[in-house]
Assembly symmetry: D2
Homo-oligomer: 276 residues x 4
Amino acid sequence: MNYILTTQCADDTGLIAKITGLCHQNNLNITRNNEFVDKDAQRFFMRTELEGKPHSEFLSQLRAVLPKGAKVALHDGAKTKVVLLATKEAHCLGGVLLKQFEQALNIEILAVIANYPDLEPLVKGFNVPFHVISHEGLTRSEHDKKVGDLIASYTPDIIGLAKYMRILSPEFVGRFDGQIINIHHSFLPAFIGAKPYHQAFERGVKIIGATAHFVNNELDEGPIILQDVTGVTHANTAQMMAKMGKDVEKTVFCKALQLASEQKLFINGNKTVVFS
Amino acid sequence: MNYILTTQCADDTGLIAKITGLCHQNNLNITRNNEFVDKDAQRFFMRTELEGKPHSEFLSQLRAVLPKGAKVALHDGAKTKVVLLATKEAHCLGGVLLKQFEQALNIEILAVIANYPDLEPLVKGFNVPFHVISHEGLTRSEHDKKVGDLIASYTPDIIGLAKYMRILSPEFVGRFDGQIINIHHSFLPAFIGAKPYHQAFERGVKIIGATAHFVNNELDEGPIILQDVTGVTHANTAQMMAKMGKDVEKTVFCKALQLASEQKLFINGNKTVVFS
Amino acid sequence: MNYILTTQCADDTGLIAKITGLCHQNNLNITRNNEFVDKDAQRFFMRTELEGKPHSEFLSQLRAVLPKGAKVALHDGAKTKVVLLATKEAHCLGGVLLKQFEQALNIEILAVIANYPDLEPLVKGFNVPFHVISHEGLTRSEHDKKVGDLIASYTPDIIGLAKYMRILSPEFVGRFDGQIINIHHSFLPAFIGAKPYHQAFERGVKIIGATAHFVNNELDEGPIILQDVTGVTHANTAQMMAKMGKDVEKTVFCKALQLASEQKLFINGNKTVVFS
Amino acid sequence: MNYILTTQCADDTGLIAKITGLCHQNNLNITRNNEFVDKDAQRFFMRTELEGKPHSEFLSQLRAVLPKGAKVALHDGAKTKVVLLATKEAHCLGGVLLKQFEQALNIEILAVIANYPDLEPLVKGFNVPFHVISHEGLTRSEHDKKVGDLIASYTPDIIGLAKYMRILSPEFVGRFDGQIINIHHSFLPAFIGAKPYHQAFERGVKIIGATAHFVNNELDEGPIILQDVTGVTHANTAQMMAKMGKDVEKTVFCKALQLASEQKLFINGNKTVVFS
């Protein structure tokens, strides 16, 4: 049996020795290990792949030797449960649905919720529940409440914004704090805001990109998970850039969900720790 | 109205002047142009994007001023018709189906033909005809004949081998000469043959790749269209490499079909000319 | 004999036919050709590689058939003359000096001018004249005047700012309009201004980059020539990013000079046309 | 004070706990740690960055708790001593010399030895000793003996073959077992042997590359350290590919030496473990 142990806590001396020592005492063999210490923030992060069967007291033993407030979790390889939000664009949503079909991601897509019905045929083709909650006639707060209630009914681990073209209310973001992953269609912090490909075209850049990030209450300002880029030339119009960028968005979004499903993602203030 | 003019012929002096002069006389405005001269082979290749309406004699006028045997064609932007062949793996097939759904490729997938039924739900979800022609109980020649007849009934422009794990008979290849695009799961010419990811793992390479190529009667030896790579480390098993490689295969296969649909691909002996 | 013909002018119908027709009449064989039309700006750009010997009237014949104000030039393959400006950092300067030594760039470095003496041993090792013009005790305008006069005495084609850590006066920029290429240590327009690697670290980006651009009188805002990037992780400090970024800066700066030396660079308003 | 501890031994349970426990007992704080277990070979590799001052018995204490035959070493951050061998090409050699000048690598180049005098001005410009040992009139064995004796007189940690275009005798390779790093101008295992860029051109590949590897007695077959690639097109001749490839060779060779200087490289049979 294989487990993944994740640890984050205030930094201290001997943390690795304490954690790995306890694993060894419990006959848990470490097959892979990643650590990181943020010296500025004095925070310690660790991800450990284990062979063996941890007994029921293992996590409380661990907490006992770690600094107060340590967050430890043991993952048994179960699929990460995901609800995806979308609007009208198919590429990021379809990319994840296809990856699930290929069994290339350790995730289970519980449902897709959209504010338009356009993507229903795509989602139904993959046998995933599809819900439309139109924003028309509702305040932002009302719409977010309805969407949030439906999400909550699925109790997902992660909410993936697959080009969900709505600004989220602080209430919504707070309700799912640390669980929301967005894909932004620019190489942040360049071209924050609307129409990034048009901005990129106007500026005459030679590379465009996409950014997956956790959502907090600063628009386009959450902790960055992953970025990727592709080259463009003077011959590419804003429309061509948008089309070329979709491939990057799809790839980056799928990889961010993969990292989440592999317990490799940690939020560290306004940044992330991403183990390879 | 927009057209793409493709020309290939023996090299000669003044070819560009002759072709562009004739376009100008016919009030066809050139908005984009690519040329290449293979000096070793003494071959000339050109792709020209035109605005305007060519009259019915344009191509014969063109042939009259070009060297004997010139191949010229005028494309009006109609979708490239594709039949896809597959076996059991979903990633390349699904990648193209999704791209078609996104309207990101100027192609029309007429049908998918597989030698196993596994991928039927995926294909049906995209409302594309799916045919199973099992190879069991048939000689290679018999199976290729049945598959070929079904393909021919669709009169496609391009036949895409989306991880079709069958060796094709010379008859089949000859029947669809210059129309078959394969995706090979290695960075050719490294790791020709079976199990390239296992070969890559055994050799300890630090980069793996995929290759789209036209199929001729040399196994894994046709004209290369496109290649891409991704980094791997000592920590990646052959299985992990295979999984990582699938993303590259999907991307490269889709881009090769895109190049074909944009009339940017020319076969030049055992090589290709690929305009950007 | 080989020549490169560069043309830029207002867009019009039949320009390619006119130019290539005139080449053909003059027994100039086109071996490579690139064109671009900026439809918004209605500007036409073309770069043509020619075999043959143009007679003395060729350019005036060309101007006669092109729209008024056309800029045409014929380059005979002579080395592009470059003066490099530097401060204390060796990587971009050394990168270009080494490339010249390798005969990998078609440039001739006429001199290096720095506002500190630190890089003299490096430059002298490559047998290139080195001048120090300290900015101490001088106003910006006085210093720029002295540096500008020394540059002007060399009559270079291009002035390369190899990490010249001085803000240039409008007079200096105007004096060498369209000739100054700078390397900026960020992926513009992200992290304009001072200490871009510290900004990148604080923001927690996962990719850093560098940008070569022509200098105009907007700080970090000139037409972008080339950009490249490299991945970073949570484990990289701002200092490590700066070190990793130097490789990208070196590469991008050298390639921008190479493009200039191959007559592949055109300024198009606040953008560039860069032929491949 | 900072140290790097490297460990390699037969795999066993609890190794990380034992090593990190001993570090903790000795008041050595772990700031960074990498481990890898090769399950097929049953080998364990670990690299640990430590703060603190290890006492004189630390390594023998460590050996006492590790499997028999364990190789442990403690590095105090001293520069890695390198002797470079070259022939006539400047790019890899110059790349490393420049990096040393920039203080971008933690290496000390003790000397350059070449079989031709061409590169003397470059090396002298960087104030590094340069020796010519011509191979003319000598058998391979005699030449290798003279070169090897001169190398041995410098007692380097690493011997870098900066495009040293000589086949090494088994005696030479055996004498400096595990110390020799070569740069090969192809993406191994593609295009083993002579003129890889010509082979690449003939095959019509769309990507070329370079490979840094340890040298053993199989030509072009030693453990691969690092590879990188760059795209090429139908328009690139073999000569252009060779020129484009030089940049990749230079980058890959410098990075391989950097990895060695940071104690991140381990030989594991015919493969390497390369910590990031």
